[in-house]
Each structure stands twice: as structure tokens, then as C-alpha cells.
Amino acid sequence: MTTLRSLTLFIAVIVAAAAQAQTAPDTLKIEDVKTPVSPAFVILGVAPTAVERPTTPRAVGLALISANSDTSGNGLPRNLALEVAPYWLSERPALTFAEYDHPSFWQSLRQTASISVATRNGTATATNETPSLGGIGLRASWTLGESSPLEQQVLAAYHAKAKTFLLLPIRPTDAEASAALRPFVLAMREAMKQGRWIVEAAAASSALFPNNDLNQSETQKNAVWITPSYRFQRSTFDAATGPLKEVPTIDFVSVLRYMEDRTVTTGRNAVDAGARLLWESDTIAVSAEHIERFGNARHTRRTSILGEYKVTDNIYVSATFGRNFDGENNGKGNLLALFGINFNAGQKPSLLPPPR
């Protein structure tokens, strides 16, 4: 266990150092603060929602979350997920905004692909040794559809503003250009998400390490899933000042997932189909989800409500309550109650190449 925790601490320090040089934006929405729930987290069963909205993988992201069923903490985080998007670890000078915004299928997979790993304490054994659970996951997404009218409006306003700076008789400083253009850039980032479908595919596998030995592992679960989602276009834009008019966003997310669970003796193969409706403001997010489970597992369902609150720009808390799938709680009923604290390791962690 010491080895795993040392590794956890080491990763945390590295990512924190990578994020330290970055300037946090003055206003973060709750979705900016959150490190996206990775497939590795989902497979370990510590994700607060079973229908996670597709999100943009950061170059490097780190999440720490604690489930209330886990009681063996000794000061270090018990659950950790690290996600890396390999494509963004090197320069992409040929990738234009147009290609980034409307990528081909394969390009979309390349620029959104990420690998995640996660750890979690298992159930203590008779010898009082707490085994470790490890998960590894992959995900990538494809954005469908044309730019929304809102995005086109914001883009035109950005170009108009940028042109005024390009044509100044004296070269403007980075700070001057940034101050003028940043509201338009942030508006553009949000406008790109609205009125378009994003289809994310993911796969993950988890294993138990009985003696906390990487050479001894027992595969526990394997899963693949696809998550189509749509964010309704609700914002309006003021071309004179730049920012979008702040209105809570509404997302529809659906999921189709196949999971093989080797920890049970019957009903090992399950198919989940479900949907989630999410309402989100700057600081609060509320969602409801329902999932039906089929396959050769017993037909069961999960219905839950998830609330998230941004405490600070670097911390948010989440709580999930509802009815879990039958059999998910190790024979302890089907009540679903999770409470999590999530620490952000930077708005957009990035590993920059070494100076040439």
C-alpha cells in the first residue's frame, strides 16, 4: 500500500507543479473546476453519476474523490484518477481552428482521445490487508453538426475585434490584446458547445491487486459504452462587449453501455441504457438520471439525483442520492448515497515541450 500511496503523492506533486505556472481565469464555472469523470473512475464505481456528459480531456487532469463507504483514510487521498490526452503533449502547428472545430471523424478521435488510470481501496481481507483496486480507461469523442448561429455570431465579433488590434500603428502587447479579446474567446468556447451533438465512446477495465502487488492482479470488470449528448442553445451574445449572457445550460445525455462483471457468479454480462438531464449554472449543477440494466443480469434500474456546488475556483463538492442497481451495494440494500470533494489541479493543465 505504501508503494501505491507514494505513487499517488508523486503524481499529485507532478501535476500540481505542471499546473502551477498557469493563470486561473477570473470566473470559473463549475464545469471548468471539475476534472472530468474519467472512464477509469466509472469502472471503479466511484463516479457520482452513471451517465457522464462528454467533456474535453485536458492535456493532464487529476481528480481526487472520496466515497463515504470508504473508512480507512489516513490523510492521503484514497481515490485518485489521472487522465492524459496524448495528442496535446506535443505542438500541433498545422491544426487550424477550422479543423479543430469541425474535425473529420479520425481527427476528432485523435484530438479528444485520452487515457485514464484510477485507484481505489478494496475491501479489507481477513488478514486485515486492504487490497487495491486499479482501473484503466480510454475515451474519445466526435462532434457532429454545423456551427450554431450563436457560434457564428461570436466568431464574427472576435474577428472584428482582432482586426482592430492587428491594424494598430504600433504593435500591441500580449496583455493589451488579451484584455480586449478574452471575453470573446471565452464566449466562443461556450458557443462551440451549444446546439451540437457530441458522441463519446469509452472503454475501461478494472483489476484487484490482492497484495498491492502489480504482478498479481485479478480482472474485475470490463466495459465499453457510448454517450451521445446535446447542449441546448440558450445563450445570447452581445457583440459590443463580448461575453455571453449568462443563463444556466441544459444538457441531455444518454448512454448505452456493456459491462462484464467477474466479481459476481451469475448475471455477469449487463447492458445499461439510460439518460440524464442536467441543469447547470455558474456555481450549482443539478441533474436527474435513470438507467435500465438488461443482459443476463437481473433486470434492475438506477434512479438518482446529483447535486454539485462550486465552493471555490479549485474545489467543488458533489452529492448523489437515489436508488442504486440491485446488488451494487454488496447486499446492503440499494440506497445510493455518495459525497465527494474534488480538487482541481489547474484550469487546463498542460505539459509544455522543453525549450529548444
Binding site: 481565469p25 485536458r58 481552428f97 482586426k163 488590434f165 468556447r189
Partner: protein, 120 residues
């Protein structure tokens, strides 16, 4: 002339226009970032916006003159802080390209680039 990558936001170089009937230029804002460029020839504005295979004329009319690019790259892409601008000059003695790279100072901020080419 091979491709060159420079860590910085400013470039001064020469470009041999040879005897070409047409010299074409491009400015590509990379890394999925948002941006625009403006181009001047001896201080006279030629074009702004997306500069892509823009024809600036024949070699005989360009020799001895100065071509200047100014570009803005804004950190739209939430996956990286890097910005890059690649300036292409084609049709002369060689086809040259120079990539300037600089990270934005913070999320959603911008970098201003300038590249000046003495046409010989």
C-alpha cells in the same frame, strides 16, 4: 530552405523571390487556436483575416521590398496553452516556412506575433 521553428513571437528574415511570376504567402494559426493576421508590403496593407495562399505579385515587382506579418493567436483551445503561427512563403527560389511558438500567459489569453521578411 528547410522549415524552422522558433520559440518566440518575433522574426526577421530574408526571402529570395527569384524570378517567380507569382509569390504566395500563408499564415497558419495552429494548435486549434483562434486567430487572424494582417500583411503589409512596404507599409501598405495587403490583406487581413485568414491569409491562405495569398498572391502578393511577381518577383520583379517585389525585390527589395519589405513584407510584414502581424498575427494574433488566442487561447481558445482548452487542451493546451500553446499557440503557434506558421508563415509560408512560396514560389521564390525556395519554399520557406517559419513556425513561431509561444504559450499564452493564461487561460483564454492572446499572443501577438510579428514577422518581417526582406524580399531579395
Amino acid at each position: 530552405m528547410p522549415s524552422q521553428t522558433i520559440n518566440g513571437d518575433t522574426l526577421a528574415a530574408t526571402y529570395s523571390v527569384g524570378t517567380a511570376a507569382s509569390i504566395r504567402i500563408s499564415a497558419v494559426i495552429g494548435d486549434g487556436q483562434l486567430g487572424d493576421s494582417a500583411v503589409w508590403l512596404d507599409g501598405n496593407l495587403l490583406t487581413t483575416g485568414d491569409v491562405n495562399h495569398f498572391d502578393i505579385g511577381a518577383a520583379e515587382t517585389l525585390r527589395g521590398r519589405q513584407l510584414k506579418f502581424r498575427s494574433i493567436a488566442s487561447g481558445l483551445n482548452p487542451q493546451t496553452l500553446r499557440t503557434t503561427v506558421t508563415y509560408f512563403l512560396a514560389g521564390g527560389t525556395t519554399d520557406d516556412d517559419y513556425t513561431l511558438a509561444k504559450p499564452v500567459a493564461g487561460d483564454a489569453m492572446s499572443v501577438v506575433y510579428e514577422a518581417t521578411f526582406q524580399l531579395v
